[in-house]
C-alpha cells in the first residue's frame, strides 16, 4: 500500500459549497455591527468550511512529545440557513459533539472556518466574540450535569442577563426569568428551586430556557432528548418546534436517534469518522439514501412495528468503527463497506452530487461522499 495517496492533510472534500460572503471588518465596531445585522429567512446564517479538529496524542511525563492525533473532525463543510433545522447524525465517536463545541467556540479549531454572517468566529475575540455568543446558544445532552447544582433556577436562567447586562435592565430580570419559565412550560413560581428538585424533562426545559434568554438566532442542540424517557422526549421535541416558530430560530440538532432527527429536521447530514458522508433534505436522506453507510445506519434502526420490520431490507454492518486516531486511508467507511473496491482505499471520495445522478431532477441527486453511490430504500417495507 506504498502508493497510497497522502491523506494526512485535510483534503478539501466539499468543493461545491457556495462561496462565503466574507465581511471584512477592520474594527471591533464593524464586526459587532455585522453580527447584529438581520438575516433573511432562507439565507445562510452559518457557513462551515473545511472545519478540522485534531486532538494531539502526547507521550512523556516531563517533556511532552506529540505522537499522533485523534482526528475528531477532519474537514467538514455545510451551511445552515436561517429558520431551518439541520440534523447531524452519526455513531458515537464520529465527531458530531466536537462539531457542536467548535461551532460554539468552546474548542479551538485546528483549521477551517466557521462564518457567522460572514464573520469567521474562530478568529474573533473580545466584544465581537461576546456578541456572537449572544446569538448562538446551546442546549446540552445531560440535564443532570448541565445545570449548576448550587444555583437556583432563577439564578441559572438569569445568569445570561448578568453576563450580557445590555439585554435586560436589572429591575426587569426576575420578571424576564419568570416569563422564560412560562415559555418553556414550567411554573414561574419555581424560580427559587434547585435543579435536583426537578425531573430530567423539567431540567431540560430549564436548560432550554437558559438558551433562549438572550434571544439567540441559532441554537445548537447536542443530543437534547437522548437522556430523557420516551414519554417525555416527545414533550421536549414539541416544545422545541414550537419555540422555533415563535422565536424564528435556526437549529443544529445533533443526535444519534435517526427517527427523532427525521421528525425535527429540514436537512440532515450523516457523519462518519470525522467526515460528512451524505447531506441532503430529510426526504433525500431517508427515502433516497445513496451512501452505503447511511443505508446501513437507517436499516439498523429498530422500528417499533414488527410487521413493518419484517418487510424491510436490512444491511447489517460487520465490525466496529475504526479508531479516529488511525482512520483508514481513502474512504473511511471502506473497512465496513460491502461495496468497497481498490479505488476506495486510494481515493478520498468527495462530498458532491455523484456523477451518475448529476443533472437528475430527483431526490437521489444530492451530495454523497461515495465512489459507488447507488440508491437503496431501506426504510420502507417492500
Amino acid at each position: 500500500m506504498a502508493e497510497l495517496k497522502k491523506t494526512d492533510e485535510p483534503v478539501d472534500a466539499t468543493p461545491n459549497v457556495s462561496e462565503v460572503d466574507v465581511v471584512d471588518a477592520h474594527s471591533e465596531e464593524e464586526a459587532v455591527a455585522a453580527i447584529e445585522a438581520p438575516v433573511e429567512r432562507g439565507e445562510p446564517i452559518l457557513q462551515v468550511r473545511n472545519l478540522v479538529k485534531h486532538f494531539p496524542l502526547t507521550t512523556g511525563i516531563l517533556f511532552k512529545r506529540q505522537v499522533g492525533a485523534v482526528k475528531a473532525v477532519d474537514g467538514i463543510s455545510f451551511d445552515l440557513y436561517q429558520g431551518e433545522t439541520l440534523g447531524i447524525v452519526g455513531e458515537s465517536g464520529c465527531g458530531k459533539s466536537t462539531v457542536a463545541k467548535l461551532l460554539m467556540n468552546l474548542e479551538r479549531a485546528t483549521a477551517g472556518e466557521v462564518f457567522y454572517k460572514g464573520q469567521d468566529i474562530t478568529k474573533l475575540s473580545g466584544r465581537a466574540l461576546k456578541a456572537v455568543r449572544r446569538n448562538i446558544q446551546m442546549v446540552f445532552q445531560d440535564p443532570y450535569t448541565s445545570l449548576n447544582p448550587r444555583m437556583t433556577v432563577g439564578d441559572i436562567i438569569g445568569e445570561p442577563f448578568e453576563i450580557h447586562p445590555e439585554v435586560a435592565p436589572k429591575g426587569s430580570r426576575r420578571q424576564k426569568v419568570q416569563e422564560l419559565l412560562d415559555v418553556v412550560g414550567l411554573n414561574p413560581e419555581y424560580i427559587n428551586r434547585y435543579p435536583h428538585q426537578f425531573s430530567g424533562g423539567q431540567r431540560q426545559r430549564i436548560g432550554i430556557a437558559r438558551g433562549l434568554a438572550l434571544n439567540p438566532e441559532i441554537i445548537i442542540c447536542d443530543e437534547p432528548v437522548s437522556a430523557l424517557d420516551v414519554s417525555v422526549q416527545a414533550q421536549v421535541i414539541n416544545l422545541m418546534e414550537k419555540l422555533q416558530d415563535e422565536f424564528n430560530l435556526s437549529y443544529i440538532f445533533i443526535a444519534h436517534d435517526l427517527s427523532i432527527v427525521r421528525h425535527i429536521s429540514d436537512r440532515v447530514g450523516v457523519m462518519y469518522l470525522g467526515k460528512m458522508a451524505e447531506i441532503g433534505t430529510d426526504t433525500q436522506i431517508y427515502d433516497h439514501p445513496t451512501h452505503p453507510y447511511t443505508q446501513a445506519l437507517l436499516s439498523a434502526v429498530p422500528v417499533p412495528d414488527p410487521d413493518a420490520r419484517e418487510g424491510r431490507e436490512r444491511v447489517i454492518l460487520t465490525g466496529d468503527v475504526p479508531s479516529p486516531a488511525n482512520p483508514p486511508s481513502g474512504c473511511r467507511f471502506r473497512t465496513r463497506c460491502q461495496k468497497a473496491q481498490d479505488k476506495c482505499a486510494e481515493e478520498v471520495p468527495l462530498l458532491a452530487v455523484p456523477e451518475v445522478f448529476k443533472g437528475l431532477d430527483s431526490p437521489v441527486a444530492h451530495e454523497s461522499a461515495c465512489h459507488f453511490a447507488e440508491e437503496k430504500d431501506v426504510v420502507h417495507a417492500v
Partner: protein, 318 residues
C-alpha cells in the same frame, strides 16, 4: 440500582401536574410550601440529627467561650502579681484549687483555662492561613492548568515529602521567638499544600462539567466561572479537611511547645505545661493530667466535628 436511587428522590417536592397546552406538561400545579433543599440545607438537616456533631459542637462552643473570656471561669489570672507562690509548689488538687499547683506553685486550673486561648488562636489562625493560601493557589492551578499547575504541584510535593513535625522543628528552630503567631505561621507554611491538593483536585473534577461549558458558551469570564460555578461545587471537601485540621494544628502546636520550640514562657500552652511537669509525673501526676485532658478533648472534638461534617457533605457515604 440507579433506577431508583438516582431518579426517584429527584422530583420530590414537585407534584405531577396536570397539563394545559400541547400536552406539554406545563406545571400549573400549585406550589407546595417551599422546601428549598440544597446541599447546605441537607447537610444542616443531617448535622443537627447527628449526636456526634451535637456533642462536639457543644464542647467546641464551650472551649471558645473559655478562650474568649477565661475570666468568667476563674477569678485569678496567671499574669497577676503573686500568682505563683513557691510555698504551694506541687500541692495536690483540693476543694479550693481543683487541679492543684505546679512545681513553681502556680495554680494549674487557672493556667489550663488561660492556655485554651493560645491553642485556639494557633488552631484558627493556622487553619485560616492554610485555607486561604491553599485554596487560592489550588483554584488557580486547577483552572489555569499547564506549566503553572505543574510547577505548583511539584512544589507542594516537596512539602509532602517532609513530615509535619520534622519540618516544624526545622522552621521553628530558625525563628525561635516563641510567640503564638510565629507558631501559627510555621504550621501554616507546612500545612497549605494539603489544602492546595484537595482544592486543585476538586476544581479539576468540576471544571469539565457541562454547566461550566454552558457558562462559557454564554460568554462568562474566568472570574465568574471560578466564583459562581467552580468554587461553590469544589468547596465541600475543603471545608471537611479544614474542620479536621483545626484539631490537628492544635495538637501540632502542643507538640512543638512540648519540644521547646513552640510557644515559650512566659506564654502559656498546654504543651508547655506538660513539658514542664513531665519529670515529676510519677510524684505529681495532676500537673500533667489536667492540661493533657484539655488538649485531648479539644483535639478530639474538632476531629469528631470534621467527621460529622464529612458525613453530611459527602453524599457517597450516605
Amino acid at each position: 440500582m440507579p433506577d431508583i436511587t438516582d431518579k426517584v428522590p429527584a422530583p420530590a417536592a414537585i407534584p405531577p401536574s396536570p397539563s394545559t397546552e400541547d400536552g406539554g406538561g406545563k406545571d400549573t400545579g400549585k406550589a407546595k410550601p417551599e422546601r428549598v433543599a440544597s446541599m447546605w440545607s441537607d447537610a444542616r438537616h443531617d448535622l443537627i440529627r447527628n449526636p456526634i456533631f451535637v456533642v462536639s459542637a457543644i464542647i467546641i462552643l464551650f472551649l471558645l467561650v473559655l478562650a474568649a473570656a477565661p475570666g468568667l471561669f476563674t477569678e485569678r489570672s496567671p499574669f497577676e502579681k503573686g500568682f505563683c507562690q513557691l510555698s504551694d509548689s506541687a500541692s495536690k488538687p483540693s476543694s479550693e484549687n481543683w487541679f492543684g499547683f505546679d512545681t513553681l506553685g502556680c495554680d494549674v486550673y487557672t493556667r489550663t483555662i488561660y492556655a485554651t486561648r493560645n491553642s485556639i488562636i494557633v488552631g484558627i489562625l493556622t487553619t485560616v492561613l492554610t485555607t486561604l493560601v491553599g485554596s487560592l493557589l489550588g483554584m488557580i492551578a486547577g483552572l489555569r492548568g499547564g506549566w503553572l499547575d505543574s510547577v505548583l504541584s511539584r512544589f507542594t510535593e516537596i512539602f509532602f515529602a517532609l513530615p509535619l513535625m520534622l519540618g516544624g522543628l526545622l522552621v521553628a528552630s530558625i525563628f525561635q521567638t516563641g510567640n503564638v503567631v510565629t507558631v501559627a505561621l510555621v504550621l501554616a507554611v507546612l500545612g497549605w499544600p494539603q489544602v492546595f491538593r484537595i482544592m486543585r483536585g476538586a476544581v479539576l473534577a468540576n471544571k469539565h462539567n457541562d454547566y461550566v461549558m454552558a457558562a462559557k458558551a454564554l460568554g462568562a469570564g474566568t472570574w465568574r466561572i471560578a466564583m459562581r460555578h467552580v468554587l461553590p461545587n469544589a468547596v465541600a471537601p475543603v471545608i471537611v479537611i479544614t474542620t479536621i485540621n483545626l484539631g490537628v494544628y492544635i495538637s501540632a502546636e502542643a507538640a512543638l511547645s512540648y519540644l521547646g520550640i513552640g510557644v515559650q514562657s512566659p506564654n502559656i500552652s498546654w504543651g508547655l505545661m506538660i513539658s514542664d511537669a513531665q519529670s515529676r509525673f510519677l510524684i505529681s501526676p495532676h500537673m500533667v493530667l489536667f492540661p493533657s485532658l484539655f488538649l485531648s478533648i479539644t483535639v478530639l472534638a474538632f476531629i469528631m466535628l470534621g467527621d460529622a461534617v464529612r458525613d453530611a457533605l459527602d453524599p457517597k457515604l450516605r
